[in-house]
Structure formats: structure tokens, C-alpha cells
């Protein structure tokens, strides 16, 4: 019953790149911070493979020092992000059968981050931003020692918690992809998702709205939805995280009642998620005064290249 599953790498080393082309040409970027170039590798296709399988096969048979970052090969850890035929994706979840084989398959490192070596980039920027996020601060437990939350109040948070930190959303975000200089003042889509998850957490008591506006630079985001399009976990980054955060900030900063409330109380009352739905657009059904807000904030610019961001809520 055992099948010849072909999982072991092909026994014979593949011929060097100047040999007559076989069925498949992989064009991989090789190099480091000082520069590099694409190198072609010829490999025989095998059934059911993903891009990472082919890269591993090249590593095992032709280029043992080919650097590639990966862990789980199951789409759960978000390590093997790259640009495949120019499209940002996880190598482990991109099946070869979905790519045209009559031309080389190019794999290059994520462009928004400095190159370490070959397909591996230095994503430490993201870990630095993570350190700046004001941590979760829950209120007290119920008298029996438990926290109670309704499933409906955590559905949105659970969507955000699906994030595997592949940083593909950061990679495609116009604000930093072509503007390294924006990194110090811009958290990026991954961390807007993180902030949204904290702001919408039913137990959280902190108010991060000024911080998100002033230090995390959410105003730079022009809602082009590039982040949403590349998310391998299908998180609705723009609609469910970024726009609701922008709305909250608008509400708190420019709503005279909220402004007065802040002056009197010092800070707005913590938002429970069940109330917050009117702020966040969670559950999609918009209700209340912010129903029209997406239109108000989302003058969606065209995608014709990098935006020149202006600070503030100019969107």
C-alpha cells in the first residue's frame, strides 16, 4: 500500500544552469547586503510541490548554502515570505501548479526589508515596533476568579489573532516599501491589526487612541488595501482594523462631545467591544453615527505607485 511518494529529493544532482533546460527553471535571487543577482536553477517538477519544496530541493542538490528562512512549511508560522513572480506570498503555501511553467519562476526576497542573504531579509524593524505597543491591561476578574466574554464580542479579535506575522502586509505597504525614512514614525498594517485587537479586546482598559494617532502614524495609511490583498490568513486588515481605528481616532479627537468628555474625565471610558461595534464596524452591520464613516475617511487613492504621506489624519 505504501506509495512511491517521491518526497525524497531526486537522487542525481541537477545539471548546472547552462545545461539544456528541463521542464522547470527557478530564478532565485542570490546575494547579500552588498548586492547580488538572479541565478537560474533547472529542476524536474514533482507532483504536488509548493515553491518551498523546490527551493529545498535546489538547496539539497545544487546550492547547499542557499539561504532561505522557513519553519513549519504549513502556513502557520509565517517565516517563508518572499516575492514569487513579483507577488508577495508564502513559499510554503504557493503550489507550483498555480504558476506558469513556460517561463522561469522568479523568487526574490521581500523588498521592504534589508537583505541579509539570498532570500532572507532583516525583519527586525517589526520586532522593534512590537516593543512600543502599550501592552494589554485587563480589568479585574469576576468574583469567582473568571473573566466572562461573549463569543460575539471576541469574533473580531480572533480574526486579528490569526495573524502569523509573515510581514507580507508590511512588505507591500506603500508608506514603507519605497520610503525607508518613514519607518521610525509608522507602525505598519501588522501593528495596526495588533492595536485594533487590543482596542477591541473586551477586557482591555487602556486607551491607545492618541498614541496610535501621534506615535504609530496611522494617518500615513491611505487605505489602498494592498495589505489586505496579500494577507495569507485573509484578515480584513483595512476594513476591520485600520478603518475602525481611524474612525475611533476621528471620533475621539474631533467629536466635541468626546473632547469635552475627555477634558472632564481625563480620558474616555474604556470601550467594551459590544459597545464598540458602533466605533469599529465590527460585525459589518454599521449602526449609529459612524455608519457613514468609511466614506468619510476613505478617499481611496489610486494604486499608481508610492504615496507621499502627509502626517495627520489627512485621509
Amino acid at each position: 500500500m505504501a506509495i512511491d511518494n517521491g518526497a525524497s529529493p531526486s537522487a542525481a544532482p541537477e545539471p548546472p544552469s547552462d545545461a539544456p533546460p528541463k521542464d522547470l527553471v527557478m530564478r532565485l535571487w542570490r546575494g547579500d547586503a552588498s548586492g547580488g543577482r538572479f541565478q537560474d536553477f533547472h529542476v524536474a517538477p514533482q507532483e504536488g510541490e509548493v515553491v518551498l519544496d523546490v527551493v529545498h530541493r535546489i538547496q539539497a542538490t545544487q546550492a547547499p548554502d542557499l539561504a532561505v528562512r522557513w519553519n513549519c512549511k504549513a502556513g502557520k508560522c509565517g517565516s517563508c515570505s518572499a516575492e514569487i513572480n513579483g507577488r508577495p506570498a508564502l513559499m510554503c503555501m504557493t503550489r507550483m501548479s498555480t504558476l506558469p511553467t513556460d517561463q522561469p519562476v522568479t523568487v526574490s526576497p521581500m523588498r521592504a526589508f534589508p537583505i541579509m542573504r539570498d532570500l532572507v531579509t532583516d525583519v527586525s524593524y517589526n520586532f522593534e515596533v512590537a516593543k512600543l505597543i502599550p501592552a494589554f491591561k485587563p480589568g479585574p476578574r469576576d468574583p469567582d476568579g473568571l473573566h466572562r466574554m461573549a463569543q460575539v464580542d471576541i469574533d473580531r479579535g480572533q480574526e486579528f489573532h490569526k495573524c502569523i506575522e509573515c510581514f507580507l502586509c508590511q512588505n507591500v505597504c506603500h508608506v514603507i516599501r519605497d520610503h525607508e525614512e518613514n519607518k521610525p514614525r509608522y507602525a505598519g498594517p501588522r501593528f495596526f491589526v495588533r492595536l485594533a485587537e487590543l482596542e477591541m479586546h473586551p477586557l482591555d482598559t487602556l486607551d491607545r487612541r492618541d498614541y496610535i494617532h501621534e506615535d504609530m502614524g496611522i494617518g500615513y495609511c491611505n487605505i489602498t488595501k494592498c495589505c489586505t490583498e496579500v494577507c495569507p490568513e485573509d484578515i480584513h486588515i483595512t476594513d476591520n482594523a485600520i478603518i475602525p481605528l481611524k474612525e475611533r481616532i476621528v471620533d475621539s479627537r474631533y467629536d466635541p462631545v468626546a473632547w469635552l468628555g475627555r477634558k472632564i474625565a481625563g480620558r474616555p471610558a474604556p470601550l467594551r467591544a459590544s459597545e464598540a461595534r458602533k466605533h469599529t464596524g465590527a460585525a459589518h452591520a454599521q449602526a449609529g453615527p459612524s455608519a457613514a464613516a468609511p466614506d468619510a475617511v476613505s478617499e481611496r487613492p489610486d494604486d499608481s505607485g508610492p504615496v507621499a504621506p502627509e502626517p495627520g489624519d489627512g485621509d
Binding site: 513549519c72 504549513a74 532583516d122 516593543k131 473568571l146
Partner: protein, 600 residues
């Protein structure tokens, strides 16, 4: 080499999965200067792949549940080989650890009244697994990661530890590793070290494990003179993907069966009813009708045999395939499509839906999955004291999958995530207590550091054609074929000889390129760990001449009384792997009573 980067800490935690993160948090909160060192980026550890849930007797779904029932389930699942005290601590403390994760931001699925929902899993009498759909490990690692970052723990990412350092008395006082990016070496002085490096699945061909699971912590402990325990006990998860070839071995969560999925052979028969061992007969349904009623009425009905512990189910699948009743690609069918609505399946098992859709082009809401056993978990590991996770070497602690004893010869699903946080915390606590009592800074031996770096870089000087990828492939073939789910003495002896040859070949691996992010070199060093643990597993498997849990001997079927009360202890003696039998600790009478007839 002489001006290698150097840090001093009170506590150094190696490994940043659930156990390592929890240990580092505890040590830091105790006031110890703490470093967390990991081979990958933070948040990528194999813990993220845990799917089904974290076992804890919270009693939020079944109030009848309590720590004693959980303890009993765990011991019986482990075929009574477990360290009873670890199993007791685990059952007692896991509810608090789950609530603590919630306090740090985790969002578990909820019951209708807003408490933490719990799900059924194999071997657990009650629905006991707190979970988040089928991505519980990710939820857990993020909650711990955010906590660790928020309290300012120093994290050294993509840094591989090569060897531990020891003082003249043998106590651990540091570690040497290198940055994977640059290949530059770094030395950590430490008053206590916690090993939390996870498992060893990468020594097998078909495994659920990620590349990191190369047995590093077990090997580091062994090389430092520590004991390993019960290394023969390897869990083959019954349900891994079998097709497509490149996805072979990938985990299919036990949650599929917990949520109603059933196993069928080629003929559509629910074959698990033919494989109910006498050990579990009293608590397992005899008919399909009875089994199906258990999901909603646990008091009056017994659980279906699809939810027997993993070792039982894996052996049954193996037998069906061997008998020619398997699926087209050499597995069996796991069917949830006929048992739950598409909406329920997508809600309960979103990752599985996604995984099969993306990788196999199969819609699990309409089509049964093909599954078969895959190397999943090491029950064995570094021998530790139950209360402190101290190893047999002073200053060295171990927790999580790297440590052994807690799960006996077979681990129940859901008990590993709880193991990580229960014993990660205790290891961090004990390590910090030790470190804070030691004055001054650790003095590491420069000679030892130089020896380690010289050894680690020696692969670049090797000449010839041997390469690490080929040796690794042959090691995986060897372990898969000869030290797999069903074992026999002749094959184990053959494996032992092959491992000696592989070790010789591994030492001659020639590495191309330079020190900069060089996977060929990294693999050569990981092979040292994999070979060490593979030897311990093989020798322990030869020595245990019976079948128990995750160790099945074709030539010695069933339990044998002479092995009921012994652990297999593996250690290095003058450079040779040696395995000895030692009596297992005996549980006190008040706990033993829980296992008497009729006691639940």
C-alpha cells in the same frame, strides 16, 4: 574567536516556544536578569503548529471534571509510565496557567455563558481542551510573546547554541552559540540555564515537526553529562496528511475526531471498533450507536474508539493499511464531511479547511481526508525533578518537550500545551531562585569557548564530497524504516549500526560557502543533535523488551511485568551512549486509589 561577543545573565533560556517563553517570563518576574535565545525569529517556534487545544480541568463545560480525573486520564494515557508527581502537578496547575494566558490577552472560544469553551479529545474523559478554533498554539505563543516583550526580556533571535559551558565542579555556567545571520560566535555566561528546545521529529522522514525540532536541548544536556529518560517513547500522531507527497506528515488535528470526525477504511468500515484493547475496553463504546451518543451525553455513554489515546489509534491505522484496507495513497479516511455541516466544519476547523484546500485541493466539507501516522512528539527527554525541573547537572533545567517523564509512554492530546506553561513556569522559577543565590558574575572558561568554536567551524575545513543534506536524508530514512511505529530487535540493531556509520559520515561533512546564513553548515551542526538523540532512542528501544504506549515491539507484544516499573535512562559514558534501567518513582497510596476498579 578571541574577541567573541560576550554577555552575562542570571538565567539563560534556550528555546522560545511555549515552555521557553513561560520560563523566561517567570525568571524575569522573579527579578533575575534573563535572556531568551532561539534558533528562529521570536514567535515562530513549533508551538505555533499546535492546533487542538490546551488541556485543563476548568470544568466550564463538564462541572464533573477535576484535577483527579485529569491526572488519572494522563497516567492511563501514558500507560502508567509517567512520573506521577509531574502528572499531578500538571493536572493541579494547568487551570491557573490557562486563566493566566487569558489575563495576558489570549482569546479562547467561549461557552454561551461567556466562560472558556472546552473540546473533546482522545483519552480525556470530559471535554477538557480550551482552544481557539484549531490554532490554539498560535494564540498561546502570541499571548506569551507579547507578555515577554512587554516586561523587557532580552531576546537573542536566530542564534543557535552549540554547547553548554561548565565549571570545574560540573555545574553549568554558560553557553556558546552563533548568530545564524553572520556566523559570528557569542558566549553567554549564566548562573542557571533552562533548556526548552522542544522535540526531535526531524530525525524521522514523515513528521509534523518543523526544521527546528532536532533534539538540540536533549543533546546539549547529554553532552553536559545529564540523564535522558524513556527516549524510546516516540509518539506517532495517527492523523498526518499522506498526500500530496510534499505535505506528507503534516498534522491533521485530533480536534477533527474530537468534533465528531470518524476513521474509515477503504470499505467504509469504522474499523476502530475492531481495535479496542482490554486496557480501555471498560470505558470505550462497543457500538456505533453508543459512541455517537457520547458527544452529548458523557454520563450514560462511553466514548467512541476514534478517541482512544493516540498510540492505540496510530497502531490501528497502521494495521489497516498493512492489511490492504487503506486509502489510495496509503492512509485511511478521516471523515467529518458526513458528520457535520460545512458551516460547522469551517467554523470549528478553519486551519484544516484551509490546509487541505491549499495544499491538496480537497474540500473537507464534502470529501474525506486521507490520513496516516506521522512522527509527532517525544515523550522522553531530559530527566528532571518533578517540582523544580532540575536536571541531573547543577544549574541546568529543562521543560516542555525537551524534558521527559510527564507523559510516560504516550502523551494525550492537549497535554503538551499545558505541560509547556506549567513546567516552563516552574523551571523559570527554580532557575531564578538558584541564580539569585549565586553572587558575582559567572566565569566561563575561555578554553572551553575556544574548543566549541573550533569544533563548530571545523566543517569548513573538511574536504570531500560528504554533505549534510545527504546524511540527514539517510538518517531520516533509517529512523523511519527501522525505529518507526512498529519495532523489532533485528531492525533496531541494524539501526544502531547504521547510526554509527552516519555519525562517521556526518563528522566529515564538507560545508560550502561562508559563515553568513549558511543552511548547509547549520544542518551539519543540527545533525550532531539528531544523531545523539537517535542513538538514545534506538538503544532505549532495544532495552525495553515490551510494548507500551509509543513504543511497540513486534517481538514483544503487550505489557510485560518486569518493565512496568522501570524507566530507561540514557547517558554518555566516556563518549559512549549507555542505557540503564532504573526503578520509576512510586505514587503514594492516596493517588494509587484513583486507579482502583470503578474509581473515577
Amino acid at each position: 574567536m578571541t574577541d567573541s561577543e560576550r554577555y552575562n545573565f542570571d538565567v539563560v533560556v534556550i528555546g522560545a516556544g511555549g515552555a521557553g517563553l513561560r520560563a523566561a517570563i517567570e525568571a524575569r518576574e522573579m527579578g533575575a536578569r534573563t535572556a531568551l535565545v532561539c534558533k528562529s525569529l521570536l514567535g515562530k517556534a513549533h508551538t505555533v503548529m499546535a492546533e487542538g487545544g490546551i488541556a485543563a480541568a476548568l470544568g466550564s463545560v463538564w462541572p464533573e471534571d477535576n484535577w483527579e480525573v485529569h491526572f488519572r486520564d494522563t497516567m492511563r494515557g501514558g500507560k502508567m509510565l509517567n512520573n506521577w508527581r509531574m502528572a499531578q502537578i500538571h493536572a493541579l496547575e494547568s487551570p491557573d496557567r490557562v486563566l493566566e494566558l487569558e489575563e495576558w490577552g489570549a482569546l479562547f472560544d467561549r461557552t454561551p455563558d461567556g466562560r472558556i469553551l472546552q473540546r473533546d479529545f482522545g483519552g480525556h474523559r470530559y471535554a477538557r481542551l480550551a482552544h481557539v478554533g484549531d490554532r490554539t498554539g498560535l494564540e498561546m505563543i502570541r499571548a506569551l510573546q507579547h507578555r515577554a516583550v512587554s516586561i523587557g526580556i532580552d531576546v537573542f533571535m536566530e542564534c543557535k547554541i552549540v554547547r553548554l559551558l561548565q565549571d570545574d565542579a560540573g555545574a553549568v555556567n554558560g553557553a556558546v552559540g552563533f548568530w545564524r545571520e553572520t556566523g559570528r560566535f557569542v558566549t553567554f555566561g549564566a548562573k542557571a540555564i533552562v533548556l526548552a528546545t522542544g522535540g526531535l521529529g526531524k530525525a524521522w522522514k514523515f513528521t509534523t515537526n518543523s526544521w527546528e525540532c532536532t533534539g538540540d536541548g536533549m543533546a546539549l544536556a547529554l553532552w553536559a553529562g545529564a540523564d535522558l529518560i524513556d527516549m524510546e517513547a516516540i509518539q506517532f500522531h495517527p492523523t498526518g496528511m499522506v498526500w500530496p507527497p510534499s505535505a506528507r506528515g503534516l498534522l491533521v488535528t485530533e480536534g477533527v475526531r474530537g468534533d465528531g470526525g470518524v476513521l474509515k477504511n477503504r470499505d467504509g468500515e469504522r474499523f476502530m471498533f475492531n481495535y479496542i484493547s482490554p486496557f480501555f475496553a471498560a470505558e470505550t463504546a462497543e457500538t456505533i450507536e453508543e459512541g455517537d451518543q457520547w458527544y452529548t451525553n458523557k454520563k450514560d455513554f462511553r466514548r467512541p474508539p476514534e478517541l482512544l489515546p493516540r498510540d492505540e489509534v496510530a497502531r490501528a491505522i497502521n494495521s489497516e493499511v498493512k492489511a490492504g484496507r487503506g486509502s489510495p495513497h496509503g492512509g485511511v479516511f478521516l471523515d467529518i464531511a458526513s458528520r457535520r455541516t460545512p458551516e460547522e466544519i469551517r467554523r470549528l476547523l478553519p486551519s484544516m479547511y484551509h490546509q487541505f484546500k491549499e495544499l491538496a485541493d480537497i474540500d473537507i466539507t464534502t470529501t474525506p481526508m486521507e490520513v496516516g501516522p506521522t512522527c509527532h512528539y517525544a515523550m522522553g527527554g531530559v530527566r528532571v525533578e518533578a517540582d523544580t525541573e532540575a536536571t541531573t547537572v547543577a544549574g541546568l533545567y529543562a521543560a516542555g518537550e525537551a524534558a521527559g517523564g510527564m507523559h510516560g509512554s504516550n502523551r494525550l492530546g492537549g497535554n503538551s500545551l499545558s505541560d509547556l506553561v506549567v513546567f516552563g513556569r516552574r523551571a523559570g522559577l527554580a532557575a531564578a531562585e538558584r541564580a539569585l543565590e549565586i553572587p558575582g558574575a559567572p566565569e566561563v572558561s575561555k578554553t572551553q569557548v575556544a574548543d566549541v568554536t573550533r569544533h563548530a567551524t571545523s566543517y569548513f575545513a573538511n574536504e570531500g564530497t560528504e554533505d549534510a543534506y545527504a546524511v540527514h536524508r539517510d538518517l531520516q530514512e533509517t529512523m523511519q524504516a527501522l525505529v518507526g511505529i512498529i519495532r523489532i530487535e533485528s531492525e533496531l540493531l541494524e539501526a544502531k549500526e547504521k547510526l554509527a556509520v552516519l555519525a562517521e559520515r556526518a563528522s566529515k561533512c564538507a560545508v560550502e560557502g561562508n559563515l553568513q546564513f549558511n543552511p548547509g553548515w547549520h544542518l551539519a551542526l543540527d545533525l550532531e543533535s539528531m544523531l545523539a538523540v537517535s542513538n538514545c532512542t534506538t538503544l532505549s528501544a532495544i532495552e525495553r523488551r515490551e510494548s507500551r504506549g509509543g513504543h511497540t515491539r513486534d517481538d514483544y507484544p503487550g505489557f510485560r511485568p518486569e518493565f512496568e516499573n522501570v524507566n530507561m535512562i540514557a547517558r554518555l559514558v566516556d563518549g559512549d551512549y549507555v542505557v540503564a534501567q532504573e526503578p520509576k518513582p512510586q505514587m503514594p497510596d492516596e493517588l494509587a486509589r484513583l486507579f482502583e476498579e470503578g474509581a473515577h
